[in-house]
Each structure stands twice: as structure tokens, then as C-alpha cells.
């Protein structure tokens, strides 16, 4: 796959279709992949990477890249393509300046998951399909590919791209309907109010307000975030009280509700391992239930659920009537 991608990138660079490529760059170990811009065939040969460790979603970089001179080539995995399409819809990416190649994904290895399984001193990793061989300072370890996936990939929504690409390398995948995606949300819904409160207090109290979730989020593309705006009255550097911890995550999740494509980057990047996607998925699940199935980024022309209404929408008291635990 990687060879085919590099070959095509070189062709497009050579024939002048694009003048640079946004992709993933190899680091010191297998897992520390960095998004990067490549401008020559030599750079591509030297550092370009596409393998089971290329988790970062590249779509948000195109907000800036598509405004630079010349056309840029980008490789999008299925989940990245939804983010890309959503950004197009919000007029954040200049489509004419981007050449999109869809590439397949079978789930990315998450270094956090591997480390949290107790494996230390990881110097290299190889994946031969199903088995991940992990070379460490203290001997070799193995793990199955399925176990090594991050949350975002373990509950993958689809392996099929949004229709926004110019060409595709590899095979198109299928949507994943195994129902696992909302399992944890349902589990939380089944808890009592107090249990849910304690669950979220425990998680959100870990937040250090590094803003990684916000800054990586393709749906969070405001030029100036309300939490960075001194005139908003809620500008924060760090959450001082539990209220501020709740407020940041509540408002952030609300602001991306109906626009969040569920790419899972927020959870992947959280240094404190907070399952932030569970907030976004709750909104997605509610939107599906209240207003009909909706996948942000899927259709370019569809109105987002919070930008639309019908005369027969449920009333807000649906929340009390739905029952559930107090």
C-alpha cells in the first residue's frame, strides 16, 4: 500500500498536478508518526509513511494548506474523509486547491492502548496483518492487531469513504453496523444519575485543559475559540473548579453536535485518557433518535440537524418522558 501511495504521489508531483503532499512522516520509533508536508520525490522516499500506525486525521491541516499557493495532495482514510467533507460544507477548505486520494484503513494501532497493556520500552513495532510484534528494551512481545486498536478504531463506524475524493487507491470498504459504536453510551444511560455524575466527575477531573481535544478536532475550526476570548467572560487557562471542567467539555461537545463526524481524534490525543468521544456520541445517538439517522460529513447538501427543524420535532421534555434512571 505504502509503495503504491508514494508512487502515485510522485506522479502527481512530477506532472505538476500538485506541488506538495500532506501525509505522515516516520519518526524515531514505529509509532511516533507526525503529519507533514512533502514537496519532493526525495522527501517522499525518505520519510513518507502509510501503515498501521498512521492514526492522525489530516483533514484539518487543509484549512491552512488549501489557502497556500498551488494545489495540495492529501491522503484520506475513511474517517478523515467525513471530516474533510464536513469542513468543505462549512466552507473551511478551498476544494479547488486540494487533490484528494482515498486510501483504505483497517484500524490503527494506538500506542496508548499498547502501553496501557503494560508493555514498556517500545523501540519498534511491526504488524504482519493480524499479529503485532513489539520490540522492547526488555525483549519482544506480541499482541493481536485487534487488541492494539484505539477506542476510535475498536468501534469504527465505517470503512467506506465519504464521496469527496478525486481518486482511490486500494479497495473501498463497507460501513460497520455491528452496533458496538453506542455500546458504552448505552451503558452509561443505564446507570443511575448519581453513577453517571460520578463517572464523569472522575473522568473530567483529570482534564488539564491542554486543549489538545479542541485543537485536533476538525469540527473545532473557529478562528478564535470562546474559551480563548477574553471578552467572553469564560476565558480559561485551566479549570479552576469542577464547574469549569464540566463547562468546557459540555460546551465543546455542544458546539460540535451535529457536525462531529465521530473521527475519535479527541480521545486519541487526550493525554489524560478521558473518553471524550462518549460525549460526542451521546449527541450523535440523540440526534439519530430524535431527528432521524444522520452522519455528519456524509452528504454535502444535507442541512445539519441543529441548523434545521421540523414542525413535529419532539419537545425538550422528551428527556423526562424517556424515563431512564434518576
Amino acid at each position: 500500500m505504502q509503495e503504491a501511495i508514494i508512487k502515485r504521489a510522485k506522479e502527481l508531483l512530477a506532472d505538476g498536478t500538485v506541488n506538495r503532499v500532506v501525509g505522515w512522516k516516520a519518526g524515531d520509533f514505529a509509532y511516533d508518526v507526525t503529519p507533514a508536508v512533502f514537496t519532493s520525490a526525495e522527501e517522499l522516499d525518505k520519510d513518507f509513511l502509510y501503515n498501521d500506525f498512521c492514526a492522525p486525521n489530516l483533514s484539518k491541516y487543509l484549512i491552512k494548506e488549501s489557502r497556500k499557493e498551488g494545489k495540495v495532495l492529501v491522503f484520506l482514510k475513511p474517517c478523515d474523509s467525513y471530516s474533510f467533507n464536513q469542513l468543505l460544507k462549512e466552507h473551511r477548505i478551498l476544494r479547488d486547491n486540494v487533490y484528494v486520494i482515498a486510501i483504505p484503513c483497517r484500524g490503527k494501532v494506538d500506542i496508548g492502548t499498547v502501553r496501557d497493556s503494560g508493555i514498556k520500552g517500545i523501540t519498534d513495532m511491526e504488524c504482519d496483518g493480524e499479529t503485532l510484534t513489539i520490540h522492547t528494551l526488555y525483549g519482544d512481545k506480541t499482541m493481536s492487531h485487534a487488541d492494539s486498536l484505539g477506542d476510535k478504531c475498536k468501534t469504527c463506524k465505517t470503512k467506506k469513504h465519504a464521496a469527496c475524493f478525486d481518486e482511490m487507491i486500494g479497495e473501498e470498504g463497507e460501513p460497520n453496523n455491528d452496533g458496538k459504536r453506542f455500546e458504552m453510551v448505552e451503558k452509561l444511560e443505564a446507570m443511575t444519575s448519581e453513577e453517571r455524575f460520578n463517572f464523569w466527575r472522575n473522568e473530567l477531573s483529570k482534564c488539564i485543559r491542554c486543549n489538545a481535544c479542541r485543537n485536533v478536532c476538525p469540527a473545532c475550526s473557529c478562528e478564535n475559540c470562546v474559551f480563548d476570548n477574553p471578552a467572553s467572560g469564560i476565558q480559561q487557562r485551566a479549570a479552576v473548579t469542577s464547574f469549569e471542567e464540566n463547562m468546557f467539555h459540555l460546551i465543546r461537545a455542544f458546539h460540535v453536535a451535529g457536525r462531529c463526524t465521530d473521527c475519535g481524534e479527541c480521545t486519541r490525543v487526550c493525554p489524560q485518557n478521558i473518553p471524550l468521544h462518549l460525549l460526542n456520541r451521546k449527541y450523535i445517538k440523540d440526534i439519530n433518535e430524535f431527528y432521524g439517522e444522520y452522519q455528519a460529513g456524509e452528504n454535502f447538501d444535507e442541512r445539519a440537524p441543529l441548523n434545521a427543524y421540523t414542525f413535529t420535532d419532539c419537545e425538550p421534555d422528551v428527556v423526562y418522558k424517556r424515563g431512564g434512571n434518576a
Binding site: 452509561l188 444511560e189 444519575s193 448519581e194 453513577e195 453517571r196 455524575f197 460520578n198 463517572f199 464523569w200 466527575r201 470562546v226 467572560g233 469564560i234 479552576v240 473548579t241 464547574f243 469549569e244 464540566n246 463547562m247 459540555l250 460546551i251 461537545a253 455542544f254 453536535a257 460525549l279 451521546k282 449527541y283 440523540d286 440526534i287 430524535f290 431527528y291 440537524p305 441543529l306 434545521a308 427543524y309 421540523t310 414542525f311 420535532d313 419532539c314 419537545e315 425538550p316 421534555d317 422528551v318 428527556v319 423526562y320 431512564g324 434518576a326
Partner: protein, 147 residues
């Protein structure tokens, strides 16, 4: 003199200028009773209420937050309250999901002619929130006055 320690909830009511605020006015001119702890904030339309308003009301000491707007179909701006309806359904559901008592939040449609409904709604809401007691789960300790 004995100090009255009975809990009196502080309620913030966001009322749309065109219907509910007039409804509250009518409740007043008709001398209908509702607790004085309901603080009304007039907004041009119920859809002016950003989720942040609701949260910040709680931060600043509210024990319950209620939004009142025109009945669906009667919005002065045609469609504002339809958006409110979706937003608040989602927001309240999320508050509930995070373990914040769902009964502390409410949306009610009150027209300019429904002074009685306004008073009744407020009485009911105050009663519900009184039963729940002080807002603990979404409080900001810095804003509590040290006594």
C-alpha cells in the same frame, strides 16, 4: 428572631420578549402569585439562549433554569423557537447524561395571553426544584457566598 432555614431555590427564567415576557406581565397584572425567587431575564427570542447562558446561570447560583418562549408556530421571528426546541432537547439530555438532575432544566411555551399558565408553570417548577434541593452538581464554589 429565628432564621428561616427553609430552602428557597433561585430560579432563572429566560423569557422571550414577545410572548412569555408579556405572559409574565399578564400574570402580574392579574395578581397571580408565583415565588419571588424566580428571576426573569428577558431575551429577544428563546433561541437567543445559548447553552452557555444555562450553564452560567447555574454557575452563578441558580438552582433551576427555565426557558419560556412562544408556542411553536408563533415565533415572532418565524422559526426561532423551533431551533430552541432542538437545542434544548439535546442540551438537557446531555446534562442528564452527565448526571445533572434533569428536573432542574425545563422549556415551556407560554403565550402573551397565558398569564395563568406562566404562574402555574413557575409554581410547579419552583416546587420541583425545591424538592431537589440546592444545586450541587453544577455549582461553582467560588460564587457561593461564605456565610
Amino acid at each position: 428572631m429565628s432564621v428561616n432555614t427553609e430552602f428557597k431555590p433561585l430560579i432563572v427564567a429566560f423569557c422571550c420578549n414577545w410572548c412569555s415576557y408579556a405572559g409574565a406581565d399578564l400574570a402580574g397584572t392579574n395578581r397571580l402569585q408565583y415565588p419571588a425567587d424566580v428571576k426573569i431575564i428577558r431575551v429577544p427570542c428563546s433561541c437567543r439562549v445559548n447553552p452557555m447562558f444555562v450553564l452560567r446561570a447555574f454557575q452563578r447560583g441558580a438552582d433551576g433554569v427555565i426557558l419560556c418562549g412562544c408556542h411553536p408556530g408563533d415565533c415572532h421571528y418565524t422559526s426561532g423557537n423551533y431551533f430552541t426546541r432542538r437545542r434544548m432537547a439535546l442540551l438537557f439530555s446531555m446534562l442528564d447524561y452527565m448526571g445533572i438532575e434533569k428536573e432542574r432544566t425545563r422549556v415551556e411555551w407560554v403565550s402573551a395571553a397565558e398569564g395563568a399558565k406562566f404562574a402555574k408553570t413557575m409554581n410547579e417548577f419552583v416546587e420541583t426544584v425545591t424538592k431537589l434541593g440546592e444545586n450541587r452538581r453544577l455549582e461553582d464554589l467560588r460564587c457561593k457566598k461564605q456565610s
